[in-house]
């Protein structure tokens, strides 16, 4: 019986070591898991997929580098989806620390497309197919100002071009030209998008959230204020899977890295390990309790 007592009082560093191994090994040697999209992710995907051609997808890169591993794959997947579907994209960030992340995402995806492009039509061109407005402050001014005239809120883009001189902006004046805004954030910025852009201008809002904060957003999802949501790494993996299926449908056969999906094996292993911990902890608890009785 001493064994169970010792198990109950195990040094937590053993648990840390086991978790480390359980996370690291599948990262190095991933096993294949095909994510199946849940309704909130499917709704977001379908909305963007069937959005009118003249509407732009706006991605608000509202996350910071510390939660990049969880949320960055969402941004990449959204960009791939929009460009494969020939939809125009506007990017901005409401978090100054997201500035570099937005740039990295758009650079990566445009390179993926442009390195394989054979015609002008297939190429993704800055100012024509996408615009990166960058960052400005304060948030409320941006969210309300974009409903009037985006070029007034962002007179120059991230790269220093005057936005009113960009061809894409001729058809992208305000929220009326935006199909959906997807705010990817670890904080409550998506709620600000709902409060101002959705409530006051009726623009649909999608959301990418960390798994921890996703639970907060379900009321907004139920009420329809969020069109769809990607929750955590799993949400990212599910969206990546839907985009991969879309690529297959369009006949695009590129081997692109899907970091959300890659991390799924690690996450699955960690979840199972934690569940095993709980089971063992409870068995030990019951055995020692019965003995004490």
């Amino acid at each position: 019986m001493k064994f169970w007592d010792r198990l109950l009082r195990i040094d937590r560093r053993w648990l840390y070591a086991i978790i480390w191994l359980v996370v690291m090994i599948p990262l190095l040697f991933p096993f294949k898991i095909k994510p199946m999209a849940m309704p909130p992710v499917t709704r977001l995907f379908n909305y963007i997929d069937t959005m009118p051609e003249d509407k732009t997808l706006v991605i608000s890169v509202d996350y910071t580098p510390d939660i990049q591993p969880e949320l960055h794959p969402m941004c990449i997947a959204l960009l791939r989806h929009a460009f494969a579907n020939h939809r125009k994209v506007g990017l901005l960030t409401l978090q100054v620390m997201g500035l570099g992340l937005g740039e990295a995402a758009i650079r990566q995806v445009t390179e993926e497309f442009n390195s394989r492009a054979t015609t002008h039509e297939d190429s993704i061109i800055n100012g024509e197919d996408y615009v990166y407005w960058g960052w400005t402050t304060p948030i409320i001014t941006i969210l309300l100002g974009m409903g009037e005239r985006i070029t007034n809120v962002f007179p120059v883009d991230y790269y220093g071009h005057r936005t009113d001189s960009l061809p894409i902006m001729a058809q992208l004046k305000n929220y009326d030209d935006i199909g959906i805004v997807v705010s990817i954030a670890g904080s409550s910025i998506p709620i600000s998008w709902v409060n101002f852009a959705n409530t006051q201008f009726g623009v649909p809002i999608g959301c990418g959230a960390t798994a921890v904060s996703a639970a907060d957003y379900y009321p907004y999802l139920n009420s329809g204020q969020f069109t769809g949501m990607m929750a955590g790494m799993k949400g990212a993996a599910e969206y990546e899977q839907l985009v991969a299926d879309k690529f297959d449908e369009l006949g695009i056969r590129w081997e692109l890295r899907r970091k959300g999906t890659e991390a799924m094996s690690s996450q699955t292993a960690a979840h199972i390990a934690i569940m095993i911990f709980i089971i063992i902890g409870n068995i030990a608890f019951f055995i020692t309790r019965r003995r004490k009785k």
């Binding site: 195990i10 937590r12 648990l15 840390y16 086991i18 978790i19 480390w20 996370v23 898991i33 095909k34 994510p35 199946m36 849940m38 309704p39 910071t64 580098p65 510390d66 939660i67 990049q68 591993p69 570099g100 304060p138 798994a211 639970a215 907060d216 379900y218 009321p219 999802l221 139920n222 955590g232 799993k234 993996a237 799924m264 996450q267 699955t268 960690a270 979840h271 199972i272 390990a273 934690i274 569940m275 911990f277 709980i278 063992i280 902890g281 409870n282 608890f285 019951f286």
Partner: protein, 215 residues
């Protein structure tokens, strides 16, 4: 008195859209708050310097770490103020030695980002140890919580669907229905509680936050 007037004004600005009220409200919220923050930041930085200087002077336990904090504080302030943000926008101080640059952006990307990500990543370890230590079926409520957590964890990974097909949907249902219901209950309480607290402050009943101890 100031709290009473400003509090009532803030509440009034919510229902009065007239430009006179909106204008004053905007100035208070944006400009005045920004000025106060700037001044209090000076006090804050003063506080951290003082805190660590005292430690160094008294040779308190682990005092050499205070030097690390102070040096990092001064160095990043100097680089931030005079060293430019990145190689594209250099400042008046040279912030690179050969190919090695230590601009603000470089420091941020190579020091701040990995450190913050490391702290965040610790969550995985702490979750495991907290789950092992505290997740026990001690009574009915704890058992229900345990079962719900189990279903959610299994539903959150693709394996859940492989084992039991409707499990992720059930997990989703737990999140959207019972979870949302409980949360809304708590949110009602929080909403009313925060209005009541604001009201108590505006009416001057609650003065603990001013150090007055409730009287």
């Amino acid at each position: 008195m100031i709290v009473l007037v400003l509090g009532i004004f803030g509440a009034a600005a919510f229902i009065i859209p007239h430009p006179i009220v909106k204008g004053i409200d905007g100035t208070m919220r944006n400009d005045v708050l920004r000025i106060i923050t700037a001044f209090s930041l000076v006090l804050g930085v003063g506080s951290i310097i003082q805190h660590h200087l005292i430690k160094v002077r008294r040779k308190a336990e682990h005092w050499p770490f205070s030097y690390v904090t102070l040096i990092a504080l001064v160095a990043s302030a100097i680089i931030g103020l005079f060293g430019g943000i990145d190689p594209a926008s250099p400042g008046i101080l040279p912030t690179h030695i050969g190919g090695f640059s230590f601009h603000m952006q470089t420091l941020y990307e190579n020091v701040m980002v990995p450190l913050a990500a490391t702290m965040f990543a610790l969550l995985a370890f702490f979750m495991a140890s907290a789950a092992y230590r505290a997740f026990r079926a001690r009574n009915l409520e704890a058992t229900l919580l345990l079962i719900a957590a189990f279903i959610l964890m299994l539903g959150a990974v693709p394996l859940g669907r492989m084992l039991i097909r409707p499990l992720p949907d059930f997990a989703e249902w737990i999140l959207t229905v019972p979870n949302t219901a409980a949360k809304r209950g708590i949110m009602f309480g929080i909403g009313l509680g925060s209005i009541a607290t604001s009201l108590k402050i505006i009416l001057g009943i609650e003065r603990g936050w001013l150090g007055g101890g409730g009287k």
